[in-house]
Symmetry: C2
Subunit: 301 residues, 2 copies
């Protein structure tokens, strides 16, 4: 009976549906631009090598562009591509007026310095929001590109009317592209922020106790099923950023995506929870699309 | 008896002494540069108007340069100076090869857009570490200028062998120049970081309970005596960033500097505590001096 009540009140934070409504809005914006004779946003993506996850992500980004009506260009290199060739391509995309924004899909092969590539991207075309100038603008809350995954999470909360102000938020994982920027975005003084954020990581001593204080708990560590039910407060909002591929012989492709949260046991305690897949992933791509349109608006085009 | 024991174990985090030893090291570095025929670091400071606090701070910065052997230039404007004149001066300092780093003392008069001025400063000369590119580099942990007050606090902890790793740190106040960057610096994966940081602010609901969890408690809100003894855990490290001038007829100048911490009552509970004045203030100036030397090193000079 108790379990039924809890399941009744638990709601899925559905990234697919939310991302779909964003794509629809962006598609309308593209139509409006066409009617006004304005340039159509054009996203380029550089993909190095044949990593399965990267192929899937880049493919989904190109597909999202098609659905919205953005132009897209996929540039592929063999995984042995020398760093200077990749840098030269970044510089050429920086200069290419037909390209409004571009991304270099991470991770890159070990012989390429990811930071050097990131720093070479023109901040005005950095629609992934990884360049330090954009991260700094996020801190200062001035216009720039917000990193796609944190921005997608904030948008997902906002569009599902989940109040963040005054809430205790615990983020586990301090990566440059998710945990750390998300801690800033949820903590700053905006209508989608104003949480009291604690950023936890591998050196955190009292993780379980800390998680139990969280009104909003965000797991971004890439360890399948790390967050168990005993770590979650009744009625919490749980966001699962993990997407680890684990072997699954029952699937035709031989694997399934698994989040950082033990969903089956955690979900009944939650007010809201994101599924994996179908939670944060689609929102990341939606954010990238929002940034690509923003690239034109920031240029005043 | 109990009180005596606590007072015996409490230690002052002495910013004046620590800053003095940094100045000595920097002074030796200047002598070494002179011996090697290298350029002497040159800091410029722009001061607008006659605000008492700003005059004091800028004066202390110029004095620190003199003590160390740096060159310094103070550029003063009347508080009615138009924004475009100030911007033109920033651009001219960006281009001036004799100036290695410069600051624009904040706050600026209301008719001047502080953010516009900050964004106009060449990040390579931004020794205050306020430019978004430097804030972003701080997030990414790549070489750049760290904002002076947070960097000074981290240095003060480090030079007094206060371990941060795995400690719970609560920072109260999320300003762009203190609380927010400090939350990143103390949380990131470095030998002077690795705290579990919670950033609290005006919308935080459970502030007292939160403060009581802090091994390291940092107050940066500018509200005199806001942190009372009942908010501090026995044995905590307390850092007071507040420097509010409050009227004091017993002083010749008519005011005294007051911190955010009720020092008399909090100090007996602490393992370490910074006084006001003589705690964070001198370390902020020392950090600015470190950044000025670093400006040359980052240029490879």
């Amino acid at each position: 009976m108790y379990l039924c009540r809890k399941i009744d009140t638990m709601q899925i934070l559905d990234g697919r549906t939310t991302a779909e409504s964003i794509r629809k809005e962006l598609s309308e914006a593209v139509q409006e631009r066409k009617r006004n004779g304005k340039k159509i946003p054009h996203l380029a993506a550089i993909l190095v090598g044949n990593d399965g996850g990267s192929l899937t992500y880049v493919g989904a980004k190109v597909k999202a562009c098609d659905q919205i009506g953005f132009e897209s260009t996929l540039i592929r290199y063999d995984e042995t591509v020398p760093e200077d060739i990749l840098l030269a391509k970044v510089h050429s995309l920086n200069e290419d007026k037909s390209i409004d924004g571009f991304i270099v899909q991470l991770p890159l092969p070990a012989h390429i310095d990811e930071m050097k590539i990131t720093l070479a991207i023109d901040p005005k075309k950095d629609v992934d929001g990884f360049h330090p100038e954009n991260l700094g603008k996020m801190i200062l809350n001035v216009p720039g590109f917000l990193p796609a995954t944190p921005a997608g999470i904030v948008e997902l909360l906002k569009r599902n009317q989940i109040i963040t102000e005054g809430k205790n938020c615990v983020i586990i994982g301090r990566s440059n592209i998710v945990g750390t920027p998300l801690s800033i975005m949820l903590g700053r003084n905006t209508s989608t922020g104003n949480c009291t954020v604690t950023l936890a990581h591998s050196r955190t001593n009292n993780l379980k106790e800390l998680c139990l204080t969280a009104d909003i708990l965000i797991a971004a560590i890439g360890q399948p099923n790390f967050i168990t039910a005993d770590m979650v407060k009744e009625g919490a909002v749980v966001i699962d950023v993990g997407t680890t591929r684990i072997s699954d012989a029952s699937r035709a492709r031989g694997w399934r995506l698994t989040g950082d949260v033990d969903y089956a046991n955690v979900a009944p305690k939650c007010a809201w929870i994101t599924p994996v897949p179908g939670g944060v992933g689609p929102m990341t791509i939606a954010s990238l699309m929002i940034n690509t349109l923003k690239a034109m608006e920031l240029k005043g085009k």
